[in-house]
């Protein structure tokens, strides 16, 4: 090869140079394929593999009539994937803006347009995704979707909505923005409402788009079931309006009204003041979100005398006509201990047992307690459901305070009979009255009637749950008659009277403990009762904490609470078509017979 330019040497050097190049690449390939494989596969797996969650639709909450109280609203978050923008999309910006009801300049900005032009390479735009509008109705997005603009993307999202605003807020509760059910039925029945999340094990490409062809496993989501409440929107509305009235008139610190069906324990309406709007839960404070019907504890006061009366009558230690001397300030207990009795509001003489209840004599009630004995009375209080959870499925609940007799002092029995030295929740007081209304059965209060699926078929039905038989129907009738007397012209609860109807109820007024002493100014006024007394259909309890009439005077139960009973009752009469009392039923007319022969 000497005749050619260059030499053999040059030729082979060059050839060797190239072969070394190929050899180096070969070594590099072995390194990449064999030695780095594990590391690279790990990195790829973590960047590609995704478990995509599919959120189920949360079930709705209905009232007993099928009115929607809570629902999940689908909306779309519309954004722009700026790396997908085509130059042809620029001309359609006004169209996009019109569809989304946004100013054109806003869309232009989101698209990264400056001086009417896109950057030369849209892939350099950062961040890649820009939000155009957070809440877009799916229906109004349809038109935009049909334009077929690839860079405009949408993400489905659910938002909890409470169409009735603050109606039954404490019963329904709310769901936080992050999807966590926070309180009320929303939380307690979350199991039914939430549904099951679906998921897909898949791989994503750059741009976080799913690559469906590499899907591994998929479980579709199951939408949540609907909860049907026992709450009746009409009753609830009546209750809330009345609560407003109470607040306007008496400026209380807190107030609670409960309306229920005595025979089934179904709560028809339940409202507390202060309240909140679950649509704007974040604007409310803890105090207003508290379901006071279950959590506030208060001394029940005179309404508690029902317990002593039913116990004494049921045990037959007295009858309605047994005479009790309520004038004496000192009583001798069965064990010989002399105890000072609480004062009555005004001096009373010798009263029958019936009068002790209808006139609400503290001393009389104490005498009933003495006749029953401490342990016996305590057991009666327990049977009435005081000191135990009511069982209403609305979350946090208080048991109240009920000390066993071995922790009592010498005064406790005489004070407990008049509703002091014991603390109860509004729902406990309410259910005690309900027991009287239905003839002696303590029911478990309920707010949920059943669970339905998306087709409206009932999946689960919750029936009445009786706790126990507390006393006989005869005793119930007798005491009801006495309470009817209380809610008459002659009784303490005359403001609860409804014209043409027989009302049974009992007022209660307790002094609040302020700075460790009973206050003479701050009172909890309450009224609990049912009507019609001859054929009880609704039980209503009104508790007003710290309210005072604007005209002056104290917040006695008969003044701040009893009128609300009447107002609510009047509005429920047409709703439930409650018949007026034409005349007293037969058993009432033959009261004496009933008593001498015994009931049941």
């Amino acid at each position: 090869m000497a005749s050619r330019p260059g030499t053999k040497f040059r030729f082979w050097i060059l050839a060797l140079f190239f072969l070394c190049g190929y050899g180096a690449i070969g070594f590099r390939l072995v390194e990449l394929h064999a030695f780095k494989s594990t590391e690279f596969v790990d990195e790829l797996e973590s960047s590609r593999f995704r478990v995509l969650r599919e959120m189920p639709r949360r079930g709705d909450i209905y009232d007993v009539n099928g009115e929607i109280l809570a629902t999940s609203h689908i909306f779309l978050e519309v954004g722009v994937d700026r790396h997908e923008i085509k130059s042809a999309d620029l001309a359609r910006i006004p169209e996009i803006a019109k569809n989304l009801d946004l100013p054109v300049s806003h869309v232009r900005e989101a698209f990264g347009v400056s001086n009417g032009r896109l950057p030369s390479d849209v892939k350099t735009l950062s961040p890649r995704w820009k939000l155009l509008k957070r809440r877009v109705e799916p229906r109004s997005f349809e038109a935009l979707k049909e334009l077929g603009i690839r860079c405009v993307t949408s993400t489905k999202s659910y938002e909890r909505e409470y169409p009735q605003g603050d109606l039954a807020a404490h019963v329904i509760g709310f769901v936080r923005k992050d999807g966590q059910a926070a309180m009320g039925v929303e939380r307690e029945f979350d199991y039914y409402l939430s549904g099951e999340e679906g998921w897909t094990e898949t791989e994503i490409g750059a741009g976080r788009r799913e690559m469906a062809q590499f899907r591994r496993r998929q479980v579709t989501s199951t939408d949540g079931l609907n909860v049907v409440l026992t709450i009746d929107s009409y009753v609830q509305d009546v209750v809330q309006k009345e609560l407003h009235q109470v607040v306007d008139n008496f400026k209380p610190k807190a107030a609670t009204i409960i309306v229920s069906d005595p025979y089934t324990g179904e709560i028809l309406g339940l409202a507390n003041y202060p309240s909140f709007n679950p649509n704007e839960y974040s604007k409310s404070d803890d105090e207003s979100r508290k379901n006071r019907a279950l959590t506030d504890i208060l001394e029940p006061g005179s309404t508690f005398k029902i317990v002593a009366a039913t116990a004494a009558l049921e045990e037959r230690v007295v009858n309605v006509d047994t005479q009790i001397d309520c004038a004496q300030p000192i009583a001798v207990m069965p064990d010989g201990y002399r105890v000072k009795l609480p004062k009555d509001d005004h001096a009373m003489g010798i009263l029958s047992v019936g009068e002790v209840i209808s006139k609400s004599s503290n001393r009389g009630a104490a005498h009933l307690g003495f006749k029953l004995g401490g342990q016996n009375f305590y057991e009666w209080v327990e049977r009435y459901g005081f000191g135990e959870y009511s069982g209403l499925d609305l979350g946090v609940e208080s048991r109240g305070i009920l000390n066993p007799p071995n922790k009592w002092d010498r005064l406790t029995l005489s004070r407990m009979t008049m509703g002091h030295s014991i603390a109860a929740t509004p729902i406990q007081i309410h259910m005690a009255t309900s027991t009287l209304a239905n003839g002696g059965v303590l029911m478990t209060p309920r707010v949920v009637a059943g669970i339905t699926n998306y087709e409206g078929e009932t999946v689960v039905e919750f029936g009445p749950v009786p706790k126990r038989k507390v006393f006989s129907r005869g005793t119930a009738r007798t005491v009801a008659t006495l309470l009817e007397e209380a809610a008459s012209e002659r009784g303490t609860a005359r403001r609860a009277m409804v014209e043409g109807y027989r009302v049974a109820g009992k007022t209660g007024t307790t002094q609040k403990i302020v700075n460790g002493r009973y206050s003479t100014r701050e009172h909890v006024g309450s009224f609990t009762g049912f009507f019609p007394a001859n054929n009880p259909q609704v039980v209503i309890t009104v508790i007003v904490d710290g309210g005072r009439p604007a005209t002056g005077g104290l917040g006695y139960g008969g003044i701040v609470a009893a009128p609300s009973f009447r107002e609510i009752a009047k509005k429920l009469i047409p709703h439930y078509a409650i018949a007026p009392a034409v005349e007293a039923p037969a058993y009432a007319r033959n009261e004496a017979l009933n008593q001498s022969a015994g009931d049941n």
Partner: protein, 389 residues
Amino acid sequence: MAKKSNKKNHVGSNGVLNPALVVLICAGLLTVLGITILFSASLHINKDSPYFFIEKQAMWVGLTIVVGLLLMLVNLDWIRRFIWVGYVLGIAVLLLVFVPGIGTVINGSRSWVRIGPIGFQVAEIAKVSFVFFAAHYFSSIRSENTTFLRGFIYPGIGMGIYIALVIAQPDLGTALIYVMVAVSMLYLAGVRLIYLIPSVLAGFAGVVALIYNDAERWSRLTAFWNMEAEKAGDAYQGWQALLAFGAGGIDGVGLGNGRQQQAFLPEAHNDFIFAIIGEELGMIATLAVVTVYGVLFIAGVMHIRNAPNTYQYLLAAGCVLMISVQSILNLGVVTGVLPTTGLPLPFISYGGSNFLTMGIFVAIILNTSLAWRGPVLQQSKRKLKDIEG
């Protein structure tokens, strides 16, 4: 490019396979692999018609075979008369991209000329006249190859015009191929190393200085040094290619199961197709591909050694170099040995202009082998060697 069925006719009298034919077989194997892997690599791009890229590439392969067969009929010595016409034509073609309305800017480079439905990269086609020019010039100056002016400066300028026009597009990757081929041919032509080595070093320093002054190119280069840290930024594509090799392992994830081209590797059907081979077919296939390129090169070298004269020697050498330089640069880039420059992998990558050019080079090598067959058959090997001295 001739069909493989011609194989038998080209087996030499001594029963040894004609090296030029080995070049053809290697090119054929790579083309078949390219079409196969292209199907998987391009499937995601045009979902409406999955055969879009395959059809286009197949058309170019067909065109290349026709052009190659025609080239086999051309007498390479006769064509020397028109070398200067070809040289000027090459420059004219390179200038076409700067004509408004014809030149098309793609990815920031003015490398495409589009006339009607046909678009092609001028720098690819110009490679042919570049090789012819170099081979002709060096063989015509004969013993003056060691002089400074005629042996180094003149051919340097002659080739430099082409290189300058390619850089002006700018298409630095292709320019690098031109430079490496030019330097190799100067070296083979016998230029004195005292001229060549300092010029190469100076050129290298100049390129580094140019890149340093271009913020974007500099950051891409530094990203290459620090690939792992820059894997989400400038080194994204390069890093994703490396991951593809790792994902493939020894035997690959299987044809059509590759993920990287789906979303992570832009240009997967084009410059980075080797990474897809690595992912889908694994180390066995990638080493095989490198081996085939190596065999192609060795066969080319064996073939060159039989060249009857300097012109044909340098012509065939230029053709082999054009193929091999491009393959080494592309493989080096994709495996992360070299910084990223956009270059197709010969015979495998999608793209008509490059495939046609590579096919023309193979056809020239085959043509020379036909032209040289006469003396090889008529004279004994020993005699030929004696003539060569």
